[in-house]
C-alpha cells in the first residue's frame, strides 16, 4: 500500500493525465447523459445567486446541479492531491522559463501557483488587480461569450468533431500566446 502511495505521489506523465481527462467525457455521458463542460458552472452560480431578471440567467439551474457537484468534487480532489499525494520536490519547469521568471522575482517553485504572486498582499495591489480581478473577469466573460472553455470546447467539442469548437480552441490559443508573451511579462514588471 505504501508503495502504491509512493508511486502515485510522483508527478504524473502527460499521457496518463490525458487518458484520464479524456475518459471523463464518456464517463459523464454514460453516467447520466451529461456534457463535460466546467465553465457552465459560473453561469449556474450567477443564475442561483444573482439572476437579476436577466434572461440569460433565467433557467432552472437546479437541473444542472450535477455540474456543481462535479466542481465540488474537483475542489476536494485538489485538496487530497495537495495534502496527501503531493510530491515534496519543486515543480520541474523549463530552465528558460525559470530564468525569465527570476528576473521578476519569481523564484519559489514549490507550489502549483507562484507563492510570490498568488498571496493576499499582492491581491490588494495594482499587480493583484490584473492577476486576479482582470484575469478572472476575462476568464468568466470570455468563456461564456465563446460558449465554453477548455473542457467544453477543446475537449468535449473537439472529441465530437465540432468545427466551431476548433475555431474557439484556436482563438483560446492565439489569445494565450499574445498574453503570455506580451501581456504577462508587462504585468509581472508592474
Amino acid at each position: 500500500m505504501s508503495n502504491l502511495i509512493e508511486f502515485i505521489r510522483q508527478p504524473w506523465h502527460w499521457s496518463v493525465a490525458g487518458v484520464l481527462i479524456g475518459l471523463t467525457v464518456p464517463a459523464l455521458l454514460i453516467l447520466g447523459n451529461k456534457n463535460f463542460g466546467i465553465s457552465a458552472n459560473l453561469r449556474h452560480i450567477c443564475a442561483a445567486c444573482l439572476p437579476a431578471n436577466i434572461p440569460f440567467f433565467k433557467y432552472d439551474w437546479k437541473k444542472e446541479a450535477w455540474n456543481l457537484f462535479f466542481i465540488g468534487g474537483v475542489v476536494i480532489g485538489g485538496f487530497i492531491a495537495a495534502k496527501l499525494l503531493s510530491d515534496p520536490n519543486d515543480v520541474q519547469i523549463s530552465p528558460s522559463l525559470a530564468a525569465s521568471l527570476s528576473q521578476y522575482g519569481i523564484t519559489d517553485l514549490s507550489n502549483m501557483v507562484p507563492n510570490q504572486l498568488f498571496n493576499w498582499s499582492t491581491l490588494f495591489s495594482l499587480k493583484g488587480l490584473f492577476f486576479f480581478v482582470v484575469g478572472g473577469f476575462l476568464v468568466g466573460f470570455g468563456t461564456r461569450y465563446a460558449g465554453g472553455c477548455t473542457s467544453g470546447h477543446a475537449i468535449s467539442g473537439l472529441s465530437n468533431l465540432q468545427w466551431p469548437s476548433l475555431v474557439a480552441t484556436i482563438c483560446f490559443m492565439v489569445g494565450g500566446f499574445i498574453s503570455a508573451n506580451l501581456i504577462v511579462p508587462f504585468l509581472l514588471g508592474l
Partner: protein
C-alpha cells in the same frame, strides 16, 4: 424609461454546456437524480481534481510554458485527452451505447457565432494571466491557494456581465 422596441431577433442560445436551455432538447436525462444521485458526479469530479493536480495541469508555470512553447507537457495532456474523448464518442455512436439508466446517448451539433472568436481570444488572454481555465481554478482553490477565491469571484462577475450585456454584443 424607453421601452425596448424588440425589433432584434433574440440571440439563439448556442451554449451547449447548459442543456436545459434547449427547447428541442432530446437527450437531457429524464431522471431527476437528487442529492444522492448527484454524488456520483462529485466522485468523478474528485478523481478529476486529483488528476488535474498530479499532472500539474493546474500549475500556473505549466500554462506559461505552454504558451511560450517551452514544454510539450500541456500539449500532450490536451492532445491525448481529445484523442481518448474522440475514440470514446466514436465507440458510443457506433455501438449505440446507452447510459446506465438505459437512455440513448445523443449529441448536439454546435453552431458557429462570432462569440467563439471574440470570447475565445478574451478567454485566452485571461487563461495565460491567471494560469488557469475554469476547472483548474477550482482545483487550485482545493490545493490551498485561497487567494484564488478572488479570481473565481471575478470570473463569476465576468460571466454575469456577459449575461447582462449579451443582447448588445456581436454574435
Amino acid at each position: 424609461m424607453v421601452k425596448d422596441t424588440n425589433t432584434k431577433e433574440p440571440i439563439q442560445d448556442t451554449d451547449y454546456e447548459v442543456r436545459s436551455l434547449h427547447t428541442m432538447c432530446v437527450n437531457e436525462s429524464e431522471h431527476h437524480e437528487g442529492f444522492v444521485g448527484n454524488l456520483k458526479y462529485a466522485v468523478i469530479g474528485l478523481l478529476f481534481g486529483i488528476v488535474f493536480v498530479k499532472s500539474e495541469v493546474v500549475s500556473w508555470f505549466r500554462i506559461q510554458e505552454m504558451f511560450r512553447l517551452q514544454s510539450f507537457h500541456m500539449y500532450g495532456v490536451i492532445g491525448t485527452a481529445v484523442v481518448v474523448g474522440a475514440i470514446s464518442i466514436f465507440l458510443i455512436k457506433k455501438f449505440k451505447i446507452k447510459t446506465i439508466k438505459g437512455e440513448a446517448i445523443e449529441f448536439q451539433d454546435k453552431t458557429f457565432n462570432k462569440g467563439q472568436i471574440i470570447g475565445g481570444l478574451l478567454f485566452g488572454i485571461g487563461w495565460a494571466i491567471t494560469g488557469a481555465c475554469p476547472g483548474p481554478l477550482f482545483a487550485q482553490l482545493g490545493t490551498g491557494a485561497l487567494a484564488v477565491i478572488a479570481t473565481i469571484i471575478s470570473a463569476v462577475a465576468g460571466t454575469w456581465v456577459y449575461g447582462y450585456l449579451r443582447d448588445r454584443l456581436p454574435h
